[in-house]
């Protein structure tokens, strides 16, 4: 848990799409943690049907991407992080991105994440969508044994052969049922909220990735301090008020059980604007409140 607490300081100054990725990753990881007591339906998911296999592969790949992004972020900032490790993780992220671009699934990611400050809250939509969709499934395959980064003791060693022995050229189907559905929703919201923005293509992912790598390795150079990080954060928070009111309205219309996300928490902070219709979902997730507060750094 202490690992997650470090997230807010490290996120300042990062490109929005990466921030969202990491927050989503934290949430996904935490969702895994909290539901680890439930069934581990890994074996059930391994059906003969190729569809399931492709979905499984895609989920595994996404989990790996999330984990890698978290690792890049949450290195000890007191001592310089190990450069070899950072380079290897960054290469893994690049590799996954390459494959996802090849599949076409990366384009959807960048489409949702593109744009500047005001559209950041749309990230929240996607984030909420995603986790809710996965929760609606059989809880998602619990692919990784849940363990703190401090300890190396594994509670369960999960066979992760899917990721360990897959040929890259396999070409998993580009669009996978559940995630596709989720993305459609995100795009729909986008149309409502931000009709002015363009839809960027997959090349933006490379710029994003490069900026990520630059910022990771930038820490090894003399730090000049992330310029504009504070103003960006200010802008982000200042835009909360009105837009979150709208966001919540949309959410309650679309989803029956929206999950708590970081942006929902901000909403609860500015409770004067918070619509009462959201209270039902909040009570379910009181456990997560405290954690998310720490993450967002309230």
């Amino acid at each position: 848990m202490s690992l997650l607490c470090q997230a807010p300081t490290a996120l300042v100054g990062w490109p929005p799409w990466l921030e969202a990725s990491v927050q989503h990753a934290s949430q996904f990881w935490m969702a895994n943690m909290y539901s680890k007591g439930t069934k581990r339906k890994f074996s059930d998911s391994v059906d003969v049907a190729t569809d399931n296999k492709a979905v499984l592969y895609s989920r595994q790949r996404q989990s790996l991407l999330d984990m890698s992004l978290i690792k890049l972020q949450l290195c000890h900032m007191l001592v310089e992080p190990n450069m070899c490790r950072s380079v290897l993780i960054a290469n893994t992220v690049r590799h996954i991105q390459e494959e996802m671009t090849h599949d076409g699934s990366w384009q959807l990611v960048t489409e949702a994440f593109s744009g500047s400050g005001p559209s950041d809250h749309l990230v929240a939509t996607e984030v909420l969508c995603r986790s809710s969709v996965l929760e609606q499934q059989d809880g998602g395959p619990k692919l990784y044994s849940v363990m703190g980064y401090d300890s190396c003791h594994e509670e369960e060693v999960v066979t992760d052969e899917g990721l360990c022995s897959v040929a890259v050229g396999d070409g998993a189907p580009a669009l996978l049922g559940t995630i596709d559905h989720c993305w459609d929703r995100a795009v729909e919201d986008r149309v409502i909220k931000d009709s002015g923005s363009e839809v960027k293509d997959g090349t933006r992912s490379w710029e994003g990735a490069k900026t990520v790598m630059g910022q990771v390795f930038g820490t090894f150079e003399i730090k000049n301090g992330a310029p504009g990080s504070d103003p960006a954060l200010e802008e982000l928070f200042s835009a909360v008020d009105a837009s979150y009111y709208d966001l919540d309205t949309i959410l309650t219309d679309i989803q029956s059980t929206p999950k708590m996300g970081p942006y929902n928490l901000l909403d609860s902070m500015t409770s004067s604007h918070g619509p009462t219709s959201n209270s039902s979902c909040r009570t379910d997730l009181n456990e997560l409140d405290h954690i998310m507060e720490i993450i967002v750094g309230s």
Partner: protein
């Protein structure tokens, strides 16, 4: 190979005998000196402990020379880089001995940023009978002196003192991972993630950069240097390994900046084993020349490979260290174990190679007989003077008695650092904060 254990449970104030490892006591490097008489260990707290082998006594011929603590000193202190607002760890990354040229011993020790040359010398005599000061050191009143005398050297208790003779600093932007002394005994090189610098042992205020793989744009960085070593016999030749699983051999006579290699060793990737972790497990954690200089050995996450210097296309021999971990790579990536840097060593005759693994296991491979053995460095499972029992890891199926299953392995007990005596069958194995010394059984 039968091994007699001479477990050195070092019970001084530095290496404590606890179940949990005090961080500062974690051993971070182990190295024999060229004659094998001395064994140096460096730890995370910046300390160096040197052991010396007892002279074998005629009275007890069955008792081979054992290693006792000879000298302990604080080599590096923690520092703070004000420019980057980051701490510089005092952990000793590498120790390399210089060949002995006089009565004193010299070693190089390095942390992330600074290399130091230490002189370890003995003092067993002291001068007595000064004119101007008395035995306590107090200055005598000159007016009270009526006669002159010549000071004489009197024997005293042996004292071993370590003094820093040179400090080589401010030459590395990135973390130093290796140092290697050249065959000319005048120069040595220090290697960080992106650069290799050449130093003269006498000169501390300048060094020459001989390899630089830093890209113009750091965002395009995809490969780092992981280890480097000078050829044991040719002072112009050195090798360095990378995180992408390749080794480059360079000749300093070719040009001042050795960015262009003379030889490039890389094994083509096996397409059937490809996964997202392929690159990470191919990253080379250690590279060592054989004593003969004909071969080089590399250690990546799952294997040890022996290469012939004359064949760049593929290794001569590949040994599986713990292939049962191949299906666990995802979990090992999650807990960061996949980034552990294991070292590898040759024996004196280059016929056996050794490397560490998890659960305090270490492995030895006999290149001639192709036999291999897994041994464990742990106090619970071995008594002093007992023969080490070979261990076996069970991979699925029925687990026999005495076998250990993959899922029961303790990944926090890793043997990263080992050393082999230059001429005899004596090995030193560092298991977290304990040092084990094993010797061959003599009948």
């Amino acid at each position: 190979m039968d091994e007699e254990i001479d477990t050195r449970k070092i019970n001084n104030s530095f290496l404590r005998d606890h179940n949990y490892a005090t961080e500062a006591d974690i051993i971070s490097t182990v190295e024999f000196n060229p004659t094998g008489e001395l064994l140096a260990t460096g730890d995370k707290g910046g300390r160096v402990v040197v052991f010396q082998r007892e002279q074998e006594s005629k009275n007890q011929p069955h008792r081979r020379g054992e290693y006792n603590v000879y000298s302990t000193f604080q080599s590096h202190e923690p520092e703070f880089d004000y420019l980057k607002s980051l701490e510089i760890e005092e952990k000793i990354n590498k120790i390399r001995w210089l060949p002995q040229q006089n009565a004193a011993y010299f070693l190089l020790s390095t942390n992330d940023k600074t290399v130091k040359l230490w002189k370890i010398s003995e003092r067993d005599k002291r001068p007595e009978g000064y004119n101007l000061k008395d035995e306590d050191g107090r200055i005598r009143d000159p007016t009270t002196i009526t006669a002159l005398r010549v000071p004489v050297l009197q024997p005293m208790d042996l004292m071993v003192e370590a003094t820093p003779r040179r400090v080589f600093s401010n030459a590395h932007t990135y973390h130093i991972n290796s140092i290697s002394v050249s065959n000319d005994y005048e120069t040595y090189m220090s290697t960080d993630d992106l650069r290799i610098n050449l130093w003269n042992l006498e000169i501390t205020n300048q060094s020459f950069n001989i390899v630089d793989i830093k890209p113009a744009n750091m965002e395009e960085l995809t490969e780092v240097i992981t280890a480097a070593e000078f050829h044991p016999n040719q002072c112009n030749t050195f090798i360095y390994s990378s995180s992408k699983g390749s080794i480059r051999l360079c000749d300093m006579r070719a040009s001042a900046l050795c960015d262009n290699h003379s030889k490039f060793f890389e094994e083509p990737e096996d397409p059937s084993n490809r996964s997202f972790f392929s690159e990470i497990i191919s990253s080379i954690s250690d590279v060592k020349f054989s004593h003969s200089g004909r071969y080089l050995m590399t250690r990546d996450y799952l294997t040890v490979k022996v290469w012939d210097l004359n064949m760049e296309s593929k290794p001569l021999e590949t040994y599986q260290v713990h292939d049962y971990l191949r299906s666990k790579l995802c979990s090992l990536y999650e807990n960061d174990c996949i980034f552990d840097k294991f070292e590898c060593v040759w024996n004196g005759s280059d016929s056996v190679i050794m490397t560490g693994s998890y659960n305090n296991f270490f492995r030895m491979f006999d290149r001639n007989t192709k036999r291999d053995v897994t041994l464990e460095a742990s106090r619970e499972n071995s008594k002093p003077r007992a023969i080490l029992k070979p261990r076996k890891v069970c991979v699925g199926g029925k687990r026999r008695k005495d076998e250990i299953s993959v899922d029961s392995l303790d990944f926090s007990k890793k043997i990263l650092h080992t050393a082999w005596h230059p001429s005899e069958n004596i090995i030193a194995v560092a298991a977290t904060n304990n040092l084990y010394i094993f010797q061959d059984k003599v009948n």
